[in-house]
């Protein structure tokens, strides 16, 4: 059963070199091409089809600039595709950053309530989850201190705890595991496996091919905005050459 279905997704960005809102610069531009605004269209994604089943974990790999994060933002409903169709059956928790909406001056507790409400949770729902979030983050006794006094690790654990306790049907994870140490990564992977076992579908963007092979059921390789390989993580990882650059392969059928 598909919880997420993307069909024929393309996304065009307009890059503005020398963006000129300024009237003075616009007048100058009439005389000097140096000041002229140049618009360049960039297709971050071209005709991408992705589907995700319930309880499945999908890895997205590819070099920087290949469109992985754009694809994740389209799945999250943050960006609207230029072309194509997005069908989502369920709620989405995007973890594009750890601690979305966290403010350093607010306490851990205040930040938890702010962050969960950004993802649409009510106060009662957060009340019910709060104990488990604090427990997972191992921050019992610290939650009334401002987050600016937390260590990096504490803030990361809290951010991860919030994002993975939202009871979402789909969890989108963008490179956030790369910032932590070994123990943090293991703890996060264990939590993600637990969610998956309960039927949560997970999309992971990472450059860490070992992690993708270990955790994901399926993987997609994106190169220049196109899916160039799709299948078992091991096979997709094999599309990377020894130099870490993807070997050009025929688009997946």
């Amino acid at each position: 059963m598909s919880v997420l279905e993307l069909a024929g997704i393309s996304k065009r960005f307009v890059l503005r070199h020398n963006p000129t809102f300024d009237f003075k610069v616009r007048v100058l531009a009439l005389f000097h091409s140096r000041h002229r605004e140049r618009r360049q269209e960039v297709w971050a994604l071209r005709d991408v089809d992705v589907h995700l089943d319930r309880g499945e974990s999908l890895g997205l790999v590819g070099p920087n600039g290949s469109g992985k994060s754009t694809l994740l933002r389209i799945m999250a409903g943050i960006l609207r595709p230029t072309q194509g169709r997005v069908e989502v059956a369920g709620t989405v928790a995007p973890m594009l950053e750890l601690g979305v909406g966290f403010h350093p001056e607010l306490t851990g507790r205040e930040n938890v309530f702010l962050s969960t409400s950004i993802f649409g949770l009510g106060r009662r729902q957060t009340d019910a989850l709060y104990g488990r979030i604090v427990e997972f983050a191992e921050l019992d006794g610290f939650m009334d201190a401002p987050v600016k006094t937390f260590s990096t690790g504490m803030a990361m654990r809290l951010g991860f705890a919030v994002a993975t306790h939202l009871h979402a049907d789909i969890l989108l994870v963008d490179e956030v595991l790369a910032v932590g140490d070994r123990a943090f990564q293991e703890k996060c992977l264990a939590r993600m496996s637990e969610l998956r076992a309960r039927g949560c579908s997970i999309v992971v963007v990472s450059h860490d091919l070992d992690l993708i092979q270990r955790f994901c059921d399926r993987a997609c390789l994106l190169v220049n905005g196109r899916v160039t390989a799709e299948g078992a993580p091991r096979e997709v990882a094999a599309c990377y050459g020894r130099d870490g650059i993807p070997i050009e392969v025929a688009p997946a059928v």
Binding site: F13, F21, R73, A76, G77, I78, L79, R80, V92, P94, L96, E97, V100, G101, H103, E105, L106, E110, F113, L114, S117, I118, F119, G120, L121, G122, R123, T126
Partner: protein, 256 residues
């Protein structure tokens, strides 16, 4: 959209609480600043317009108070709204909450401070020897509701337009100063010469100022022209603000 906002009412509440907390945490006088600021304005304007320019209104500080506090709410909220979207780019890129929550929260944050100021100044006005408060003061409740809705409409419009043209923020800043002096807040509308006076009654800020002065200072029910102007302008700005915001919000992420 309404259903989205109901679902995300907790977000709006938390954004308002966050701003209030951040505003007062770590300051010694804390909430008192929200009272000190209007009190100082009142003192200075009273000096300038009663003692120097001799505006012929009895109990001038009270006359000034009842329209100046609401104006400050409107002006501060409108200014804050121009940054509500453009200064929250990182949040917009990370989550897909309804974007309306940001300008609405910035309006309610400023409105909370108006309520606080009214809660202190109105009892003072009722007790002090002056115009006192008449029964018409109960009309303040619908008037405040209308004013919040009007301000929300303006805020949605400004927040959306600023993402496309940053000039809107500068224009708003200058425009508010002009509108303030063109609105009978520090002077009574009776001092305005004939033709301009009728033009003024059509201006929504002037209608709101007149309504506040009527129900709180003069102790009378606002004229039907005043009431109609506030009602119609509220409905119009709210619809315009919502339509423009809705149309522009899908591109916010790419513009900020």
């Amino acid at each position: 959209m309404i259903r989205d906002l109901v679902r995300y009412r907790e977000l709006i509440r938390n954004l308002v609480l966050k701003d209030l907390t951040l505003k007062y945490r770590g300051s010694i006088l804390g909430v008192a600043w929200s009272l000190a600021h209007p009190a100082l304005l009142l003192a200075v304007y009273t000096l300038a317009f009663r003692n120097v320019l001799k505006v012929p209104v009895p109990h001038y500080p009270f006359f000034l108070l009842v329209a100046l506090l609401p104006w400050n709410f409107f002006a501060t909220a409108a200014t804050a709204a121009t940054g509500a979207i453009v200064f929250n780019g990182s949040l917009l890129r990370k989550a897909a909450f309804p974007r309306e929550a940001l300008p609405i929260a910035s309006v309610l944050f400023v409105f909370a401070q108006l309520l606080l100021a009214l809660a202190v100044f109105l009892p003072a006005m009722a007790l002090a020897s002056g115009p006192g408060l008449q029964w018409t003061a109960v009309l303040l409740v619908p008037l405040l509701i209308l004013h919040v809705l009007f301000t929300t409409g303006v805020a949605l419009l400004l927040a959306a337009l600023t993402t496309a043209w940053r000039d809107v923020a500068h224009f708003t800043e200058v425009g508010l100063v002009l509108v303030f002096w063109l609105t009978p807040i520090v002077y009574p509308v009776e001092m305005v010469p004939g033709f301009w006076r009728s033009a003024l009654t059509l201006s929504p800020p002037a209608a709101f100022a007149a309504a506040y002065q009527d129900v709180l200072f003069w102790g009378r029910v606002p004229a039907w022209t005043t009431a109609a102007s506030t009602l119609v302008s509220t409905a119009a700005t709210l619809v315009l603000g919502l339509v423009v915001f809705k149309a522009m919000s899908p591109t916010f992420v790419e513009r900020v």
